[in-house]
Amino acid sequence: MSALLGGSQALWLVSRASGLALLAAFSAAVVLGVAARLGPRLAVGELHRALALFSVAFLGLHVVTAILDPYVTIGWAATLLPLASPYRGLAIGLGALAVDCGGAVLITSLVRRRLGYRAWRAVHWLAYLTWPAAFAHAVTSGSDLGIWWVALVLWGCAAAVATAVVARLLSWLRGPDRAALGTPR
C-alpha cells in the first residue's frame, strides 16, 4: 500500500510541477506573442515558437501524470471535454478548455502555410481565451497556492501577461496606420 502511495505521490508531484512549469512557459510564450512588436523581431518570433512547443511538452507530461495518478480519478476524456471529470469538474474543465483552444492554435500554426494567413490569424485569437482558461485552471485546481513561491510564479505570470496586453493596446492606439499594412483591404 505504501509503495502504491509512494508511486502516486511521485505522479502527483510531477503533475503539479509540470503544471507550474507549463504555466510559466506558456505565459512567456503569450507575452512574446502579444508584445512581439516591441522587441527584436526575429529573436522574439523564434522564442515564441520555441516556448509554445516547450509548453506542449510540459502539457503532455502534466496531463499524462495527472491521469495515471491512481489517487484521483480523472479519465482521458476529461483532457478534452470540459465537465467530463468527476473530480473537481470546474477546475479540470477549465484545463480541458485551455487544451481545446490551445490545440486549435497549435494545429493551425503547424499547417499555417497551407491554411493561409487569414484563417490562421482568426484561429490564433483563441490564444486570448486559452491563457485565461489555463490560469483559471491553475488557480482553481492548484493545491499548492499556499506555498509562497508557487503563488509568486502564478501571480508573476498573470502580471507579465497583463502588462504585455496593456502595452500592446497602448501601441495599437498610438499608431494604427503602420499596423494596417500587411492586412489586405
Binding site: 523581431r41 526575429l42 518570433g45 499555417r112 493561409g116 490562421w120 503602420r178 499596423a179 500587411g182 489586405p184
Partner: protein, 70 residues
C-alpha cells in the same frame, strides 16, 4: 542532382515590414528606407537554400515565397 534555380519573392500586399527576413538572411535581403524587404531577383545560392527556406517559414505574415525555376 541538378535543381531548378530558386528565387525569393515578396508579396508586398501581405508584407508589413516587420523585418525578420532581413535579420535572418542579410546576405540576400536588405531593407529599403521604410523598412520593407528588397530581394534581389537572383537565384538563391545553393549553400543558402536551407537558410532561405527557414526564412520563408519565419515571416509572420507569410509574405515571403521561394519560387523554383522562375
Amino acid at each position: 542532382m541538378v535543381t531548378a534555380p530558386a528565387r525569393l519573392r515578396v508579396d508586398f500586399i501581405a508584407c508589413a515590414g516587420r523585418g525578420l527576413c532581413a535579420e535572418a538572411l542579410p546576405g540576400l535581403i536588405t531593407l529599403d528606407d521604410w523598412g520593407f524587404p528588397i530581394v534581389s531577383g537572383q537565384a538563391v545560392p545553393p549553400r543558402l537554400l536551407a537558410d532561405a527556406r527557414a526564412t520563408v517559414r519565419l515571416c509572420p505574415k507569410l509574405a515571403l515565397r521561394l519560387e523554383p525555376g522562375r
